[in-house]
Assembly symmetry: C2
Homo-oligomer: 239 residues x 2
Amino acid sequence: MAKYEEIITILRNRIKNEYYPAGSLLPKQTDLAKEFTVSRMTIQKALDLLAQEGLISSKKGVGTTVLQHSFLKKGTSFVSEYPGLSAEMENSDHKIKSVVIDFEVGFPNETIQDKLLLLPEEPIYKIVRLRMVDDEPFVLEYTYMPIKSVPNLTKKILENSIYHYLKNDLKIQITGAYRTIRADKSTPTDRKYLNCTEDDPILELRQIAYQKGGDPIEYSCTRNRFDIREYSFFDTKQL
Amino acid sequence: MAKYEEIITILRNRIKNEYYPAGSLLPKQTDLAKEFTVSRMTIQKALDLLAQEGLISSKKGVGTTVLQHSFLKKGTSFVSEYPGLSAEMENSDHKIKSVVIDFEVGFPNETIQDKLLLLPEEPIYKIVRLRMVDDEPFVLEYTYMPIKSVPNLTKKILENSIYHYLKNDLKIQITGAYRTIRADKSTPTDRKYLNCTEDDPILELRQIAYQKGGDPIEYSCTRNRFDIREYSFFDTKQL
DNA sequence: GAGTGGTCTAGACCACTCG
DNA sequence: GAGTGGTCTAGACCACTCG
């Protein structure tokens, strides 16, 4: 583990434990550098990343402030969501189950070729799963993955977590994803599996996930019941 | 402008112009450092930020690859959305108009106090606007801002862009925002202004925007017609 | 003017990947 | 073993903020 990563962990805990209370200034960079016996550059790398998480904000000539977020104070579920449902629920008491509705192999159509940068002859998995939380239908998930990147996929794996298989068995790291969120009317298929009515909207997330090195590894479409799912994130942009 | 910022601009252009084609390796860091006559650390800062944009990906022992994104190749509207509607549409031919439906001053209720970290006696603006694009209703926007942070707001400003006023006149920089996206059924108010039917869903974005230093400056709720709006972003997370 | 963070340098060592 | 990126250092100079 890199020094800056250890420092991040320590500072994050100090903020969460209010050892550095919200609204207060952190010690100045040179003092932090002394405390952790590292150079100032290393402190800055740690602070930069904490700022990206939305925990702190630095201002030239002033110092580094601990941000006071109502969403941190409250028990708001800060769903950063994307490692997949299993990771999200990992530390909770909820019971997750995946029902495999469809699991096929085939050639990609034009859309999939385009999203996953495949040739028409490069076969893919087509997976449809219904993810259940505490035996209640939660989301309907359509997943497309190139066979060349994800060998030996089994129904067993699909019933648990694809992400665990990618990470732990195939040693594939996912570095980012391009995501699109929209609202939609429900289709008959949605209503059948998600147990919703005709005038219930659907919250849809489409994503292309990329592995380290840049190859797309997954294109998926997640259809959520509108009343039990929302997406939250902290966005740092200079405007 | 910092050196690393200039380098980012140059490299980004080279990638977009396919001087560095998708899938190819960038020159190694030491070569880039020579070319721009900077230290390797400065090159790394530039590359880090380009990786955050989703343009490149570095791998130890290998090099830095230009990612091939289908969403970059296509004319997909990469709506990074948050500077507000005006900024988003700035370089397009569309005609933006804001109709001020309501513009009031009052004390914050508990929700707003909580989101904007205000006392019950600290007055706020309550603004409801209908944003039109090419004379078609587009989104219905509810905005709450503390008066102490945003003095002298006028109807005139609301008819144009709040963000421009914050940035150019008040010199307030927005450094980040906490966002939540969900789907909802339409309300009578939605239907009245957005011209949608009862079974049309609504795509809702709620956000708390923070200014430099960490004070919340805006809480807003944006109700979008489901058929003309979606939110897209590139998310870099190590999983 | 004193104090802060932002940027930058010129090196160093290491871990990883590949043939 | 050769080549790559990741981390880290110990300094330096500057811009900004505040009283």
